[in-house]
């Protein structure tokens, strides 16, 4: 038995050291969540408009296009559940906040969990998903928090950042298509140009099928709607104007989305906005956004994001 335990210990020493070292690295690593929330806290006195939502809003709304001081708190795959809690975690501190733009996409009412990203959001924003216990995730970020793929990508970003002699600014992992020399400004960092591989029928079909399936299989709609109504009420009670908006998606791609679901979604948000007496702006098929404004079938590039930011800005300015 002694020999068994001794050999087992010898065998385990290397993996344990590796895990401890990786954990140390991960706990100090920057992320887009951290960047955004820290930036927002830093600018808390100035912020007048906050943009919430998933990747469509994250990459699709450039806050620098607004006349008022705007900040983009959206993130990839961020659901309304997290939108609400990330905003509320510092709401008292945004003394000047006047508008909150809430992205209301095709699938927004149908998912609350971000999958593996729930844990990352928990690490960097403190929001825990539906009171989940994060005991293991707190114990080791390596074993229970990040996936090995993400850990590798974090290592890669760090190495590029450390080795670079040029002006690389981004020290956190970002999607393919984002320029590493770019700077995050008011919570926004956008896609460059166009992902040529994304503009074909197969990709449209595949992507639409995925979202159609989310809508078709979800059982969360009522709960999410209630959560959204709760957020809207909190904002109204604080004299902050909530606005629902749907981001533009590529017209050819939209044809593959289930038309019944699209119509239902529109009527749902019309109903919610009508009941709450707030604005709902649907830019899904906006003809002001052209093909060159898209990075892929449902995300705008930097140019498109600025244009769309301007459109939202004009809409806000036209409100009163």
């Amino acid at each position: 038995m002694v020999l068994f335990i001794k050999r087992l210990f010898v065998f385990m020493v290397l993996p344990i050291i590796m895990v401890i070292m990786t954990d140390g690295f991960l706990r100090n690593k920057n992320s887009l969540y951290k960047e955004k929330i820290q930036g927002a806290i830093q600018d808390k006195e100035k912020i007048e408009i906050i943009i919430l939502g998933n990747s469509h809003a994250n990459f699709g709304v450039d806050p620098n296009a607004f006349d008022k001081y705007a900040y983009n708190l959206a993130n990839v795959n961020q659901s309304i559940y997290f939108d609400k809690r990330i905003l509320l975690s510092h709401l008292d501190e945004y003394k000047n906040l006047k508008y909150v733009l809430i992205s209301a996409d095709f699938h927004s009412l149908y998912f609350s969990s971000q999958g593996i990203r729930d844990v990352w959001a928990y690490y960097d924003t403190g929001v825990n998903y539906k009171n989940k216990n994060y005991l293991f995730e707190d114990f080791s970020h390596t074993l229970f928090g990040y996936t090995p793929k993400i850990i590798l990508s974090l290592f890669k970003t760090e190495i590029i950042y450390q080795l670079s002699t040029s002006n690389i600014v981004v020290d956190f992992p970002v999607q393919k298509g984002v320029n590493l020399k770019d700077t995050i400004k008011n919570g926004f960092i956008g896609f460059e140009g166009k992902d040529v591989d994304a503009f074909n029928e197969n990709k449209f079909q595949r992507s639409a099928k995925k979202f159609n399936r989310v809508v078709e299989t979800s059982k969360e709609k009522l709960e999410i709607e209630e959560d959204l109504n709760g957020l809207i009420q909190i904002l109204i009670n604080r004299d902050i104007v909530p606005i629902l908006f749907t981001t533009p998606t590529f017209v050819e791609y939209n044809k593959y989305l289930n038309a019944n679901f699209v119509n239902l979604n529109k009527s749902d948000f019309d109903r919610i906005s009508g009941k709450q007496n707030i604005q709902y702006w649907n830019f899904m098929n906006s003809d002001l956004i052209k093909a060159e404004d898209f990075y892929d079938e449902d995300h705008l590039n930097k140019k498109g994001a600025f244009k769309f930011g301007k459109m939202l800005n004009d809409s806000i300015n036209n409100l009163y």
Binding site: M1, F11, L14, P15, F136, F144, T147, K149, R206
Partner: protein, 483 residues
């Protein structure tokens, strides 16, 4: 509790330490610990069904004791039938009630009259098919006087609920496991190291091979109407590896875990995809179930003795029952019948025992003939698995129809799955390791790397792959849990 879960990673060392360091002096205390740990292990999933295991244990223990005292043949028969009816009654109710109700309703409707019977919302207790057969083997063996009934209730309870193999086998015989429960276990270094190695290999099979194959197999089977025949073939092949990796992986973890506690369980899989004919395949696939049916059903029915008609009848019975054991769906029945059809020509021409030794036993590579035989057997198996995996018979037939259409010769089309880069190399590595280890109980039982750091490097590589894919494929359950 799942073997590939954090809960089990914490549970196992705790039980191990208690077993070898706290209660190691006393056999009874060790068995109490095994029984308690097994109940915790099972109750982790759903504590309500512990009552079912306890009841089954009490009934079979009581019947065993009574059989030991009873010499009147008729009364012994009654006792045996009580055990069979109670065990199969539970199994029938939880697993097959809805199936029979639905089929009766369909049959009556077909003949123009309707019956008013409702199906129930029944949860299938995990592992019921496994522990039911294990306890049945005990009462049958005691009835046949192949085994002395035990009076030690704790040991019997530990035998019935032994956590490593409780929910998905191997289905242990009382004649093998119960005597081990009743005798003192010694810690053996080599057994424990072998056990850890087998657990590691089991986790690799499950997490790296089965779960990765599952991703592609599920995608293709769930959307089979969208794919060409060539893609569907790949889907069926992926499922073939999925089910093997999944189930034999579970068995490896179960056997390895048992070894850590000083128990030797039977081998459940012996590299079945290297079989040269279907008879050999069935000697190598789910051995604990095949031998159970052979000993407790096939032989009592007359086995392969008697005339041709008897042989055909018995073969169909055993394969169809085996199929039906897997689940209350006609697809499993067809799967069983198809295997019977594969097997019968071998039996009737007395060639069912021609491949008893390991393939290419004396060489590294198989001969051309062996490659041909293995390929044919594998292909037949793949076709049968389509029925096993399909949602219903219509789905399976449509799947097969598309495979045997001209689209079989098109280039396999995938939507967003990068299988070439990941899955093919993994399968290649897996098949190579399995081939090299085919003469052993499990593929990495003896790793012929003398220099320890290099040997550890091999194990670390497996661990890294397990770690990598464990977080990628989080939602994959063990397939055989549903049986």
């Amino acid at each position: 509790m799942l073997f590939n879960s954090i809960d089990f990673a914490i549970f196992l060392p705790i039980v191990f330490v208690l077993y070898w360091f706290v209660v190691n002096k006393n056999l009874k205390h060790q068995n109490i610990l095994i029984a308690l740990a097994s109940y915790v292990f099972y109750g982790w999933w759903d504590w309500r069904f512990l009552a079912l295991i306890l009841f089954s244990t009490l009934v079979d223990y009581g019947i065993g004791v009574s059989l030991g005292k009873e010499h009147n043949l008729n009364r012994r028969k009654i006792l045996l039938w009580i055990s069979i009816l109670v065990n199969l009654g539970f199994l029938g109710f939880f697993k097959y009630y809805n199936f029979f109700i639905d089929n009766f309703k369909s049959a009556f409707t077909f003949f123009g009259s309707a019956i008013n019977a409702n199906s129930l919302n029944i949860i299938l207790p995990v592992g019921i098919s496994f522990y039911t057969f294990q306890t049945l083997s005990y009462t049958i063996d005691v009835y046949k006087k192949r085994l002395e009934p035990t009076k030690d209730f704790i040991s019997f309870a530990a035998f019935v609920s032994f956590f490593p193999q409780l929910v998905a086998g191997p289905i242990e015989r009382a004649t093998n496991l119960l005597p081990q429960m009743l005798s003192k276990r010694q810690f053996e270094y080599n057994d424990a190291v072998d056990g850890l190695r087998q657990i590691l290999w089991g986790l690799f099979k499950k997490i790296v091979i089965a779960d990765n194959c599952a991703t592609y197999a599920n995608l293709i089977f769930n959307n089979s109407a969208d794919y060409s025949g060539s893609t569907l073939v790949l889907g069926a092949v992926f499922f073939t590896f999925q089910i093997y990796g999944d189930f034999s992986g579970y068995s490896d973890i179960a056997i390895g875990t048992s070894r850590l506690f000083g128990f030797k369980l039977m081998q459940n899989f012996a590299f079945p995809y290297f079989s040269r004919d279907i008879a050999e395949f069935w000697r190598r696939w789910h051995i604990s179930l095949s031998t159970w049916f052979r000993d407790y059903l096939y032989i009592p029915l007359g086995g392969s003795r008697g005339g041709t008609w008897m042989k055909v009848r018995n073969t169909f019975i055993i394969f169809i029952v085996s199929g039906f054991w897997h689940g209350a769906n006609w697809t499993f029945v067809i799967w069983g019948a198809l295997n019977a059809i594969y097997f019968l020509p071998l039996l009737l021409t007395k060639r069912n025992r021609q491949n008893m030794e390991v393939v290419a036993g004396d060489s590294y590579f198989p001969s051309k003939k062996e490659i041909g035989q293995m390929s044919l057997t594998f292909s037949l198996t793949v076709i049968a698995w389509i029925f096993f995996r399909a949602d219903n018979i219509e789905h399976a037939l449509n799947y097969l129809r598309e495979i045997f259409s001209s689209s079989l010769f098109s280039i396999p089309l995938y939507q967003g799955v990068n299988f070439l880069k990941v899955l093919f190399p993994l399968l290649l590595i897996f098949i190579t390791i399995e081939w090299l280890g085919r003469k052993r109980e499990f593929a990495i039982e003896k790793v012929k790397i003398k220099f320890r750091p290099f040997r550890y490097l091999f194990y670390y590589s497996l661990l890294i792959l397990i770690y990598w894919f464990a977080s990628e494929n989080v939602d994959q359950q063990f397939i055989y849990f549903q049986f």
